[in-house]
């Protein structure tokens, strides 16, 4: 089967809606629905390896959760893991969005929403920041290893300090660089942006979104 190319707009809408649905819909319905939904999306897009890895992570989290809930002293942490589990399917889709689509494609998709230009630019720069940050992280963990600074759970505060402080300092420099890269290429031009990689909304996109909406709406009715 040919892997399906899904319009990034579909992902953006789902990512905005899905997490907030936990307020209205019971997790006992919403979580399995989102799990099945995101698994189907991964299958349709031919991301079998990612599906496998995600499944393993989820099962591991479930194991940790069950274990923690059996030991009273760890119940609090068990609930923490549960929250992570609930956001997991959304996180899978979010990762797909930033890894599979280039910032140019995302920008085109956001343009399609006819949002105010400054918002589109800000959103694109933020989305572009994620992969840049991921790349930087590799350098930092590597040089921590070479310096003999270990990231240890036993020393959470000092590990966190070594890890987070450089990140915060880099954030300001990085955001300036990313903004500069966009600005000198006319990202601020008040012209209707065109797209070289233009993706029309296809039947598959509408169908996917419809399944998502019907599923969540169904949950709303069922919850009543």
């Amino acid at each position: 089967m040919k892997a399906l190319k899904i319009n990034p707009l579909v992902f953006i809408i789902i990512n905005v809606l899905a997490p907030s649905m936990y307020i209205f819909i019971k997790a006992t319905y919403l979580l399995p629905f989102l799990m099945i939904f995101s698994a189907c999306v991964l299958l349709l897009m031919g991301r079998f390896k990612r599906l496998g890895i995600s499944a393993v992570i989820y099962v591991a989290m479930f194991g940790v959760y069950s274990l923690f809930m059996k030991i009273e002293a760890l119940n609090f942490w068990g609930l923490f893991v549960l929250i992570l589990m609930q956001s997991f399917p959304c996180a899978v889709l979010a990762v797909l969005l930033v890894s599979k689509y280039s910032s140019a494609e995302l920008l085109s998709a956001l343009e399609g929403l006819r949002l105010p230009r400054p918002l589109v630019v800000a959103a694109t720069i933020t989305l572009k920041y994620v992969p840049t940050f991921a790349r930087e992280l590799k350098f930092i963990t590597e040089s921590m290893r070479l310096r003999g600074i270990k990231f240890s759970i036993l020393k959470p505060i000092s590990s966190f300090r070594y890890f987070i402080a450089p990140q915060l300092f880099r954030c300001s420099a990085l955001s300036e660089e990313v903004t500069a890269a966009g600005l000198v290429k006319g990202i601020d031009a008040p012209i209707r942006r065109t797209s070289f990689f233009e993706q029309k909304i296809r039947f598959s996109d509408v169908a996917l979104l419809a399944v998502f909406l019907i599923g969540t709406l169904g949950g709303l009715i069922w919850a009543k």
């Binding site: 310096r147 450089p166 990313v178 031009a189 012209i191 065109t194």
Partner: protein
């Protein structure tokens, strides 16, 4: 010469949070000129360049005064997007250069922003691919490109809107000698096509014979040399336009060496093949080779980041590795704390702070230091760590001549107690620090010799070879 393209009149800019800035700069740039903008680190080159491409005052807070015009239009009446239709910018840092992560997306990105139709974009794209021979670059992830390819892509991207003025920010910083010489040729061709080119750089050997005017910055004040000749005859150390002519004394060969690390028949993927090198205490070994020859891979094998597929690496513990970007490597809360992470030895720490002029910054956060101070802190850390192997990756990229000489001295004193391995493209720096040269090409050690008055010609011919390969 043609008409005036850019004109600045008493241009000043003062940063809100520091004393640095530029003061009353006045100059004219004519169509078709090649301008070199140079000066020591912190002299205000980048500030002036940012004023020229509009990033000041767009994203930098501070006070700007004076006039600056392009083709007779005042900058302050132009929006960023209007200005960037005329001016293309090539940054040295890929993070500020590229907005997307794919080469085709990057090339069309400016055109999309300016609302070009798909047909126009395709036509322009085809033209750029032909003009810059981008056939092998197109459709690839930017982070998998070699630095030469990245430079070509950056250049092509900055010309997508058919800009007539090009700004380069330290283009040679990440280029090997061959690719830098090739960039010189490209700049010459672009100038012949009528483009106006402004290059801000510490190194300028690759511009020999093509500079029309030099804008020399000194603490924010501008001095103008009306010709390359005038600049060469001036009192600034021009860091030699003709690299091979420099006259640096060679280091004395030692009688005995103690081998502290070695690579025996090491191979890694298809990058390195059967590498045999011994690293000796008291010796500075410089690894030379084109971008992508496998120099950094070799360093990473020594750091155990990668495991060799074949062969053996003998060493005691991990080496101390000083990367190009110090920001990835500093984790302390203060300069003093940074050194105590390496070793808790108050007496030595105090001595090192004194030696490297960092005593008054003892309680400063490492990230608040200047680039040069960060590098000095790293060298102090290397001295304190007592490791037997110390590796430097391009320590002089982006350094002015004075800083380069200072680092050379520090590396030489570091090598008294350790085997120092330096990866570098900087010929002048290599002549200052090297005891030994190892030339890597096509994944193998092509040459390995002690550098002295007899072997210097071998080093020169390696550089000439790299130039020929790049400019083919």
């Amino acid at each position: 010469m043609g008409e005036v393209v850019i004109k600045a009149d008493n241009l000043s800019f003062n940063y809100k949070e520091s004393k640095e800035g530029i003061h009353n700069n006045s100059f004219e740039i004519k169509r078709g000129e090649v301008i070199l903008l140079t000066g020591n680190s912190g002299s205000g080159k980048s500030t002036l360049l940012k004023c020229l491409n509009g990033l000041i005052p767009e994203i930098q807070e501070g006070d700007i005064s004076g006039d600056i015009t392009i083709n007779g239009q005042e900058y302050n009446k132009l929006k960023m997007f209007e200005l960037n239709k005329d001016i293309g910018s090539v940054f040295q840092n890929p993070r500020s250069q590229f907005f997307t992560d794919e080469s085709t997306a990057e090339l069309v990105f400016p055109m999309e922003n300016y609302g070009y139709s798909k047909e126009e974009m395709q036509a322009r794209l085809d033209k750029l691919i032909r003009a810059f021979s981008l056939e092998k670059v197109i459709g690839r992830n930017i982070f998998t490109l070699s630095s030469g390819e990245r430079q070509k892509l950056a250049l092509a991207t900055s010309l997508t809107l058919d800009q007539k003025v090009l700004l380069f920010d330290e283009p040679s910083a990440n280029l090997d000698y061959g690719n830098a010489m090739k960039l010189g040729l490209t700049i010459r061709e672009l100038r012949d096509k009528g483009l106006t080119i402004i290059v801000s750089d510490h190194r300028f050997f690759y511009l020999n014979g093509i500079i029309d005017k030099v804008l020399f910055m000194d603490s924010g004040n501008l001095k103008i040399y009306e010709s390359e000749e005038e600049f060469k005859n001036g009192d600034y150390n021009t860091r030699s336009f003709d690299l091979f002519e420099i006259n640096t004394p060679f280091k004395k060969e030692k009688e005995t060496y103690e081998t502290v690390a070695s690579m025996k028949d090491v191979s890694y993927k298809d990058i390195l093949k059967d590498i045999n090198i011994d690293f000796n205490k008291g010796e500075t070994t410089v690894i030379v080779g084109s971008n992508g020859a496998g120099k950094t891979t070799l360093a990473k094998l020594l750091c155990k980041t990668y495991k060799p597929d074949k062969g053996k690496i003998n060493e005691k513990g991990l080496p101390f590795f000083i990367m190009q970007d110090p920001d990835y490597q500093l984790f302390g809360t203060s300069v003093h704390n940074e050194l105590t992470i390496v070793k808790k030895d108050e007496e030595r720490i105090n001595k090192l702070l004194e030696k490297f002029g960092l005593k008054e910054y003892k309680h400063t956060h490492p990230f608040d230091l200047s680039g040069g101070q960060k590098q000095r802190l790293q060298i102090a850390m290397a001295m304190l760590c007592d490791k037997e192997v110390i590796i430097f990756d391009e320590p002089t990229s982006g350094l002015d001549v004075t800083s380069m000489q200072r680092v050379s001295g520090e590396i030489c004193s570091l090598s008294e107690n350790a085997a120092v391995l330096v990866i570098s493209h900087d010929y002048e720096f290599i002549r200052n620090v090297a005891d030994r040269i190892v030339y890597i090409d096509e994944g193998t050690v092509k040459e390995d010799f002690m550098l002295n008055s007899e072997t210097v010609l071998r080093l020169n011919s390696i550089f000439t070879k790299m130039e020929e390969a790049a400019c083919k």
